[in-house]
Symmetry: C2
Subunit: 234 residues, 2 copies
């Protein structure tokens, strides 16, 4: 039997959602990706065959062929998973602090930054922020803001760079996830920002943190409680 043999709605829901990768594909679609290769980029360790299979979930994803192109969109049912995915993100950010070496990936990090960075605070004129990782390849990245759009390059686009962030990939990843603040990292000299005097101070505001990073981490008190049973009668 592949199911759980239960009428419980949680059981029925998980029969659809507990397969490996499924919820990550949904996360990508919720974030706005619609193309096959766009999805691959968001879930790079998933094989294309498997992605294709996951995209067949009728009732969750609807495929639409437009001439030579194809796009995938969430159905209403899957759209209503948004609060659950957000809840999982908040929970994961709060309680799964530890990242393994295999979780760090400059492509994914920059790709996610490009997608989520809010350009409101950026200057109107073209502005380039470079990022340099001392411990990852590719090590050089350029975020190019122009006319309300943010482009990402892994080659020098040739424009003047307003500021350069130099750090290790895990540091930048933790900052982006919200597990560490720009200020703390700067103070601890885990990170440097060089460039125009006025830009340097604004980089933390420009880049910010992931939208889902705003969940308070557990306090020391709570972290201790994690190792103990929850109090009864909550």
């Amino acid at each position: 039997m592949s199911g759980h043999g239960q009428f419980c709605p949680v059981a029925k829901a998980m029969e659809l959602l507990d397969e490996r990768w499924t919820l990550l594909v949904i996360r990508e679609l919720l974030a706005g990706s619609t193309r096959f290769n766009e999805l691959r980029r968001g879930v790079p360790h998933m094989s294309p065959a498997l992605l294709s299979k996951r995209l067949e979930h009728a009732g969750l994803v609807r495929k639409r062929v437009e001439g030579t192109r194809t796009d995938y969109r969430l159905t209403q049912a899957a759209e209503e998973l948004r609060p659950i995915v957000d809840g999982l993100a908040a929970w994961g950010g709060r309680w799964i602090g530890e990242l393994g070496q295999e979780d760090f990936d400059p492509h994914l990090l920059l790709w996610d930054m490009r997608r989520q960075i809010d350009l409101e605070a950026w200057p109107r004129r073209r502005t380039v922020v470079a990022m340099r990782f001392t411990d990852a390849q590719p090590s050089q990245w350029w975020l190019v803001c122009r006319e309300g759009d943010l482009d990402l390059c892994d080659f020098d686009p040739g424009f003047a760079v307003a500021a350069t962030v130099t750090t290790r990939l895990p540091v930048m990843t933790r900052i982006w996830r919200g597990g560490r603040s720009w200020l703390h990292a700067l103070r601890a000299e885990e990170l440097r920002i060089d460039g125009d005097a006025d830009a340097v101070g604004r980089v933390p505001v420009w880049l910010g943190q992931a939208g889902r990073a705003s969940v308070p981490r557990p306090s020391e008190r709570e972290l201790a409680a994690r190792r103990e049973p929850a109090l009864a009668g909550t």
Copy 2:
């Protein structure tokens, strides 16, 4: 690699939660079960070996040995999964209407009813409601309310029965899940209630529906939309 190779908090959360059965065990613990065999009863198709393994998840479950007995409690981290489990229940009840033959189980149904039924509306004196399934074994069950406690028997406890519900197991299951109302089932003669005149009318109130059954089912309009992509720009 067993993980997802991503720093995304959803990915990290799912590395813990997407294993088969895990969230159902958590659901049982959230519902108040603490004993190994109590958990087995709530997840009967899971092998004891696997249950034992799932109960080892440090950070989610805390084991406490008290002499010859053992009990399991959720940690604070797992307790904070409650809104997510509730959300999944609501989503599953709303969008996964169809149940397979293998999802029906009189033990699970009555066990869940005994656990969730609210005794507020019941009489103070001892009251017995019998349930008889025409298509499932065991077919006879007795719910015995006495002094604020509800007992469940699969043998005749010998007390006077106030009312007897006779129906097929899928009908009662759907009513309990909220996919069908008592009134509709009675009108369609999918279900009969016999017994004392005053008790008969109150049985639907006494038994009610599962606490998580209160999510409105999708309208016909919504069900149609499920088959179409969600509107853009929601």
